[in-house]
Symmetry: C2
Subunit: 334 residues, 2 copies
């Protein structure tokens, strides 16, 4: 009595370095109609994010590890098709945890109703208006504490998190320096987002002198997305009482990175380094959404998305996050 | 018309690794009698501290670099012999910045009158009741924020700063684990100071498993005096939302240390690392002295000192800080 089929991506082996297509498998499965409290959802947009790499490890620390031979999961936006819940009706647009598949049977208490300020920009709720945007907002404002006139350095600056950090910092009156891996990303940040200086880390030579040149008065806040050489350079160039806010270190997700050799400077410069995971900061969600929707509506925050179509291409979309082939938020459209 | 002579230790070349006696010179100099606002002081006790190694570098970051061919300086306690100031009279005991010499002509505004709670324990004002004690108090309470029942890990745990951190943490209801370099230091911490577990880092093998064994429920606060392998082990064993408070990293003062290879864990574990320099926290001095004098008077805080006599032996006293040959606060008695 199955009426529906779904395509899901399963994790079939744990990658030890950069994941390959061998680690994943596309599986077709059958779904029953929704029972009481259940909702059947056709996905519209799936999110693939760097943090998912951590969940592929057996000893995942960010969040629970994905189980082998089960569908992976993560943020997604879909439309309710059939409902066994009195909270949702067919046609409702819901944020759900069922990425990596095109259709899902979900419990109603795991869903959030989206009332988009613009139905044409629904996918923003996986990026600028979703988890990456909240990560930027909380990480910069709560842990970075930038003051007007200070300099903020952002790595992976055109990424889903980084581009929002750059623009929020500009709105707070900061000078902003970004680091990216291509000239087209640099151009977009400077011309569209008002970022003051951008370093292309692939062509700039040694990062510390390049950062000193881009930020001659030093930096006061470093928003850490990358780790490795970026972290060491930031510590070198931070001013006394500088803050590092760290939501991820993508350079180390697939292979171990040497540690920063200049940790001793955190004493002499009185630096503070704060790691955080966004799921601990749901209390800032409503304030974030009010601010961010207004900034997007007023054109003060721009968003860039790379959209790949089809659940079967979600693996390629995910792998592109590590090669730098994406530009802005990576979205899988169903 | 010089009435007085003084012996001073000058820095004559900048050490590039572990300093040697070649970097220093004992110089005899003449002092005039005090003019208006000046005070002549016979030193009783000189402090030698690890941070002074940083001032021997041309690019000192902690504090201004020592000048070549001038007397070095640092905390000292002396008795006023002659005074051209209406603020101090002969016989007054004063805290002053004139270490590394046996007699100094000082401006009155650079001096602090000491009213010792016990004249027999004057040297404590260079240790437990002085800068190292304040460093322990501020670093642990302001930046470490230990809660009752939490576990605090302290490196260089029998040192001038570390021994106070251990005992303040015990007074705050924490479980305390220390790391030291000899069994006699371990014994003193456990038997005299009530420290719950002590690791001898020279004999324990790999530090991470040793720390896991000493702190089976993980650590919540790490008080960092050492750097290098200690920092990496602490990051490995810290619990979520753990705090690292760093006032120094002595293992890196004379030779570069590799950075911690596990910095990525600060994100997943939501750690906070705070570097600080005690001179920024003078606002906590009176609260510190009130608490600490009471704790010492009541026998709740024990102090260990290594006393070396004679200004000409100050260099050996300083060098012993890096070999671990000292035990507790190193004091030079004049």
């Amino acid at each position: 009595m199955s009426n529906y089929t779904a395509k899901e991506i399963h994790l079939v082996s744990r990658p030890t370095a950069l994941p390959t297509t061998e680690n994943f498998k596309l599986v077709e499965t059958e779904l029953s109609p929704p029972g009481p409290g259940e909702v059947l959802i056709d996905q519209r947009f799936l999110s693939v994010d760097p943090y998912m790499r951590g969940r592929m490890r057996e000893d995942a620390v960010y969040a629970d590890a994905y189980q082998l031979n089960h569908a992976m999961y993560g943020g997604a936006i879909g439309e309710v098709i059939e409902s066994g819940s009195d909270k949702f009706k067919p046609g409702d647009i819901v944020l759900n945890g069922g990425a990596w598949r095109d259709r899902i049977l979900a419990k109603d208490k795991t869903l959030g109703l989206i009332q988009p300020f613009d139905p044409e920009q629904l996918s923003l709720y996986l990026g600028t208006l979703g988890m990456p945007g909240l990560t930027a907002y909380v990480g910069l404002l709560k842990f970075g504490e930038p003051k007007e006139g200070e300099t903020v350095f952002v790595s992976a600056a055109s990424g889903a998190v980084g581009a929002n950090v750059c623009q929020i910092a500009k709105l707070k009156g900061c000078r902003v320096v970004g680091s990216v891996g291509s000239d087209s990303k640099a151009k977009w940040l400077q011309e569209e987002c008002g970022v003051d200086a951008v370093i292309n880390y692939k062509t700039c030579g040694k990062l510390t002198p390049a950062l000193m040149q881009a930020a001659p008065e030093g930096i006061d806040v470093y928003f850490e997305n990358v780790g490795g050489e970026h972290l060491e350079a930031a510590i070198n160039v931070l001013n006394p009482f500088g803050r590092i806010t760290a939501c991820g270190m993508i350079s180390g997700y697939n292979e171990a990175q040497p540690g920063p050799r200049n940790m001793m400077l955190i004493v002499g410069k009185k630096l503070r380094i704060s790691g955080f995971i966004i799921s601990d900061h749901g209390d800032m969600q409503s304030q974030f959404l009010a601010d961010m929707e207004a900034w997007v509506r007023d054109g003060k925050i721009k968003s860039k998305e790379t959209i790949i179509e089809g659940v079967e291409n979600a693996i390629d979309a995910f792998l592109a996050l590590f090669s730098g082939d994406n530009f802005g938020k990576m979205i899988v459209k169903i």
